[in-house]
Symmetry: C4
Amino acid sequence: MSFIELKREVYEANMELEHRKLVTYTFGNVSQVDRAKGVVAIKPSGIPYEQLKVDDIVIVDLENSIVEGRYNPSSDTKTHTYLYRHWHEIGGITHTHSTYATAWSQAQIAIPCLGTTHADYVYGEIPCAPVMTEQLIAGDYEEETGAQIINCFGERSPIESPMVIVAGHAPFTWGESAAKSVYHAVLLEEIAKMAYLAKTLQPNIGSLKQALVDKHYLRKHGKDAYYGQNN
Amino acid sequence: MSFIELKREVYEANMELEHRKLVTYTFGNVSQVDRAKGVVAIKPSGIPYEQLKVDDIVIVDLENSIVEGRYNPSSDTKTHTYLYRHWHEIGGITHTHSTYATAWSQAQIAIPCLGTTHADYVYGEIPCAPVMTEQLIAGDYEEETGAQIINCFGERSPIESPMVIVAGHAPFTWGESAAKSVYHAVLLEEIAKMAYLAKTLQPNIGSLKQALVDKHYLRKHGKDAYYGQNN
Amino acid sequence: MSFIELKREVYEANMELEHRKLVTYTFGNVSQVDRAKGVVAIKPSGIPYEQLKVDDIVIVDLENSIVEGRYNPSSDTKTHTYLYRHWHEIGGITHTHSTYATAWSQAQIAIPCLGTTHADYVYGEIPCAPVMTEQLIAGDYEEETGAQIINCFGERSPIESPMVIVAGHAPFTWGESAAKSVYHAVLLEEIAKMAYLAKTLQPNIGSLKQALVDKHYLRKHGKDAYYGQNN
Amino acid sequence: MSFIELKREVYEANMELEHRKLVTYTFGNVSQVDRAKGVVAIKPSGIPYEQLKVDDIVIVDLENSIVEGRYNPSSDTKTHTYLYRHWHEIGGITHTHSTYATAWSQAQIAIPCLGTTHADYVYGEIPCAPVMTEQLIAGDYEEETGAQIINCFGERSPIESPMVIVAGHAPFTWGESAAKSVYHAVLLEEIAKMAYLAKTLQPNIGSLKQALVDKHYLRKHGKDAYYGQNN
């Protein structure tokens, strides 16, 4: 049983993260799930991108046991698998410490929707999962990070906001594939930068008018979308 | 009847936008009008710049019907054609979500003239078209975006400010050709960045003295201009 | 009588400005004086850097008459020659609209000495020449820009601060040669960026302690300097 | 007795500093100590990186006397040797004027731990060594810079924070080798940028919860670390 295609997609998504300059050294990791086979391919822990090879990608099952690979998987693996187990809609996950998104995480503020660049991709604010209690931190930390994210979404669909920032930490993004989750990581960083600039220029600015949020999100998403070539 | 030359100019202007790093993924679009033929060439919707070819450029008439091309035109096409129909002085239009200009849009503040870099290209502030009413958003949104821009200029000539920011959205720039509209998009981003920095450094700074605005604008524009080689 | 060597040095200094990313399009110009011959070599007006050739550099005398060259000299030529006529210590001048230095110009604030990066190159604040009166603007504007700079230095030597920002406009820097003036333009932009960041982080920060200003400036400049290899 | 291997490591670490865009012109210097031989290899003073060769690296003893090399060593040599003499745990030192770290130095504020990017590498705040008294500045300045750093650490281990900022000046970082000290210089600049952005976005933000600091620092460092492949 071979995972070569899955590994290649995850390898390429990880390298795209490097190519888009969203990571410094070994920061960041991308994974993709194969739900039929019940496995996740993920970057190994602490391997620099310039040395990474397709075959270094680690295969784990959804309970975090290594299925194939000579390296330890990313130390954030349990956060990835937790999200895959709870959100069946998602196929790939990206974790970065990209500069502006991480600054919002450190400021511990959800990123408000201030414009159509945001509304084109995210319906409503980008939530900020709160800092864990001491008890949770002392427990199974990476697993609990997944739980914090799921809890802060509540009934909200992960499709409406394919991204979250974790207070005091950094962002996670997702999508139908590893590649799509990286795409959302790039967009998040740009959205976070624009929101930073707008907020420091005009601290009192409120969120975008709801009718405009609806208009932009729905012209790109849903059954009446008319952006692009596929509709 | 062939539009090959028009398509090539619009293709090259779109690629210049990418080259100047003013776009992320498929954000942004450039068009040019051929008034003799009554047509507009514009980027297709949702096609990444790295895949774009000359022949992918779409030709529409001024009422937005496709004349030639296998793709849907940009979802912002109606804004472009609205501007061409109302401003006969302009030949090309660029729309981007460039970072600093979009931040001003999100802050919903017209960009004041704070220095000669601004006054060299724009006579007076760069206007901020207001957010539409719910009623207009629910109507023909992209057409109404054009109307918001025209309305906010009132009697002011589009030559005096070859650029506008739309509140909650992003900038549009124009010029005598597609290439010139991209040139103005690059200048707007630089002007917007300088104004952001000056305003956050010194929030009370007022606009540039009118005599200096006149001096710089008129040494580059109008019958007594003495900048460059063409006078 | 040939000016080929002088033209080449000025050409290379102009291209270095482009290489260091201090200019957008045709912004900026560099000149160098040959005091023995009584001439100044300067960039032609409005020629893009990618098209500039050695032979396009214009030679003018110190009263601004063209001595050699097929193009109009920079529209800022009179500012350059005014400075050369009044400051015999300087051999080259650079004018840019570099982003952070121009932001300080627009904020109309002299750049305070906040750290040793500044003190290593400039002794005391980087002065801000005030906006001209309406009367001066209406006069010989570029000549008066030179006069504003000279006046704001008063008795202070142009060697102590090889740079100035002009309120509402942008910086000028100088040095013993065109190359050295570009070197100072690069340093000014970095100093201006650091000062912007420090001031927005801590608005109440005062200037660097005088003893530290003296220490850093004098370890690089003057008879007891011990930095580098030439002492 | 040859120092070729030591010189090569120091040369490569210096070039990495340039490659990571942490230096402008001749700013910055990296050294490494060979404790068995009692010598330090360090960048020569004022030599541009583009001209630097392996053989230009200067060898000094721990009392700053030149052992080998045709150039003067960095003017900051005495700070390096002071730190090597007092902290036996460290093997390499980097000094830069990197933009964001230097801005914090100029603001004269220790960099608080605001997130896990910081906690992954530094246990607690990054200290800010105070500006020296006039008396110390007038003394053996570079030696006293070392003393200010050692004094501000007090009982704290240099391993817990492999970096410091010196008020009014700039950062120093260290590690087990020259290469590792450069690695920390890169991380410091990124941490300083994120902290700048978070603080200007939300000035009231406090430090990261201690349990989270402990968790992140200890998952990468110490006997129970589980990040990477070496445990």
